[in-house]
């Protein structure tokens, strides 16, 4: 059964009728428990807007059409704000690019994890605290008990992103939307977060939508890949097929532009040779 089923999703942005633009133009995709679905594309392709539309967090004036169904039972398009609040952060959680922006600088890590849990799960304080420490251990933050009483600035960027993931997991969601979760991190730190996302999908049967422009990251953790361009999905399929046998010209173009696909320019042989110029005649 699919955890989240998106069908012909359309998103329009703009304050008034004369300035509307459709940024997502009818996309469909399925998120399956235990699998990571990668959404690739360049800036402005509509991938982040897709994630925000699922969360019901579009900028003011944003209009969503089509269908987003959670666990085959709840239609999210057109859901009332109050009902959406019960789902957001509870059944569907999110992690963003910049952990510093998603964590409150003046509230302890423990309080930030417990906050969402108490709102959605109605746990008492002691149980919530125990669970918060378990979550920090799950995302491999060292010394979870001590970490609960610290503030975000006392952690490195990588640890902050782990904490943001712990907060996202607090209510044991069905779906995790991760928008460029490793883009702000160094590669050695990124590697640790990718391991964590992979383990969370497999061990907790979590359905993850991973939005990233980084095809290396995509290749490392995604099970399925959709490539977006100008608000449309131009190609979709299992990871290995997309990378080894891309069918859409745009996917091929993206892969060919990666540094891995290119020859070094240092000590490159000269471009023109005499045989070439003879052939041109």
């Amino acid at each position: 059964m699919s955890a989240l089923s998106i069908n012909d999703l359309r998103v329009e942005l703009g304050k008034d009728k004369s300035h509307r633009t459709e940024v997502v133009k009818g996309i469909s995709l399925e998120l399956v428990p235990g699998r990571i679905h990668g959404l690739a594309g360049e800036s402005g392709s509509g991938k982040s807007m897709t994630a925000l539309a699922v969360l019901g967090l579009l900028p003011a004036g944003g209009i969503v059409r089509g269908s987003i169904v959670l666990r085959g039972e709840t239609e999210l398009v057109g859901l009332k704000p109050k009902a959406y609040r019960a789902i957001r952060g509870n059944r569907i959680a999110m992690v963003f690019q910049d952990p510093s922006a998603s964590l409150h600088p003046q509230i302890t890590v423990g309080a930030q994890i417990i906050d969402g849990m108490r709102a959605h799960l109605r746990l008492n304080r002691a149980d919530a605290r125990r669970r918060a420490a378990e979550l920090l251990a799950l995302v491999r933050v060292p010394d979870p008990q001590a970490a609960l009483t610290k503030y975000p600035h006392q952690f490195s960027g990588g640890q902050r992103q782990r904490i943001a993931i712990a907060i996202a997991l607090a209510c044991d969601p069905d779906v995790l939307l991760a928008d460029e979760p490793t883009t702000a991190l160094d590669v050695t730190v990124q590697a640790g977060i990718l391991h964590l996302l992979r383990d969370l999908a497999v061990e907790r049967d979590l359905a993850i939508l991973l939005v990233t422009h980084d095809l290396g990251v995509m290749s490392a953790v995604a099970d399925d890949v959709s490539v977006m361009r100008h608000g449309r999905i131009v190609e979709s399929g299992p990871r290995r097929r997309i990378f080894t046998d891309p069918r859409h010209p745009y996917t091929r173009e993206l892969l060919a532009a990666m540094p891995d696909a290119r020859e070094s320019l240092v000590d490159a042989p000269p471009v023109t040779t005499t045989t070439d110029s003879e052939e041109w005649r």
Binding site: S219, L254, M258
Partner: protein, 295 residues
């Protein structure tokens, strides 16, 4: 070949035991005694992760940072600290490209006029240069953009304008601090390649600062890997890329995920930063080129 008497043989930039510190009494040492030089027509990449001191090094090279120790020599002379006043004319031969084109371009000046400012710097040193349209074409932009303002351009176009302006000044040293990391992934490799080609063609030296080793592999003659304020490995790019010797370089290269579709998770260091990363490994420094079998 090496005739120390001629200006050709002398490196354009010589950095010797450079130290940069921040904060007063209990100062933090961001750059801890690093040395390198760059020759005309050569690209040296300084790579490392956030906080390793690579940007501080760039700022010290162009005179934006006070030296706490060591020496930076441009064509044999010291680089004057950058103040609020106009730079001495000779030093406009050093040009910078920064990560964020929004803060380096003047928002109230049309693109063509900004590039002309670079050309003016070249002419003031008695060099000929081309018009704005020419430099726009060189960086792969349409000349129609000449009359636009920076806000009318995309981020990638703005960074190309910043590069065009630097090139219009006919620099013989370009210091580029993460010039491609704000660009779309698909444009990064091609802009880096373009920067190398233009730099080599004009005989300028380039210090290219980046955290992205896979892009550096394409366009740098030599690489210096920095960790915690020191250079831990240095040498020809292919030697460092193909046979890294320092544990940190190995971890850095091992952590890069490759878009091969194999679903292979890159190796993650067990702890946040093993102690071996800080150790100096003599055989990782000043490496010689790999001797590859021909054929």
């Amino acid at each position: 070949m090496s005739d120390p008497g001629t200006t050709e043989a002398r490196p354009v930039l010589q950095v010797d035991q450079l130290v940069v510190e921040y904060g007063g009494r209990a100062a933090f040492r961001a750059v801890d005694g690093i040395s390198f030089d760059i020759r005309a027509g050569e690209v040296l990449a300084l790579v490392g992760e956030s906080g390793c001191g690579k940007s501080s090094t760039a700022r010290a090279v162009i005179g934006m940072e006070k030296l706490a120790g060591g020496d930076v020599r441009y064509r044999g002379g010291a680089v004057a600290p950058l103040g609020l006043r106009t730079r001495p004319r000779e030093l406009t031969a050093i040009q910078m490209v920064f990560q964020d084109p929004n803060s380096s371009l003047n928002p109230r000046l049309r693109v063509g006029r900004q590039i002309d400012e670079g050309s003016r710097a070249a002419r003031s040193r008695g060099l000929s240069t081309e018009d704005a349209a020419y430099w726009l074409r060189e960086v792969g932009l349409s000349r129609d953009l000449e009359n636009r303002y920076p806000y009318q351009l995309s981020g990638g176009q703005r960074q190309r304008v910043a590069i065009a302006r630097a090139l219009a000044a006919r620099p013989d040293l370009i210091v580029a601090d993460e010039p491609i990391s704000a660009l779309d992934a698909s444009a990064q490799a091609s802009v880096a390649a373009m920067m190398r080609e233009l730099c080599v063609a004009s005989g300028a030296a380039m210090l290219f600062i980046s955290h992205d080793l896979s892009v550096v592999r394409l366009m740098a003659d030599r690489v210096a890997v920095m960790y915690a304020g020191r250079i831990v490995e240095s040498g020809p790019t292919s030697a460092v890329w193909n046979e890294p010797r320092h544990p940190y370089t190995r971890a850095l290269l091992g952590a890069i995920p490759h878009p091969d579709g194999e679903g292979i998770l890159p190796a993650a260091p067990a702890t946040e930063a093993p102690a071996t990363w800080r150790e100096l490994v003599p055989e990782a420094l000043d490496r010689s080129p790999l001797t590859l079998p021909r054929g």
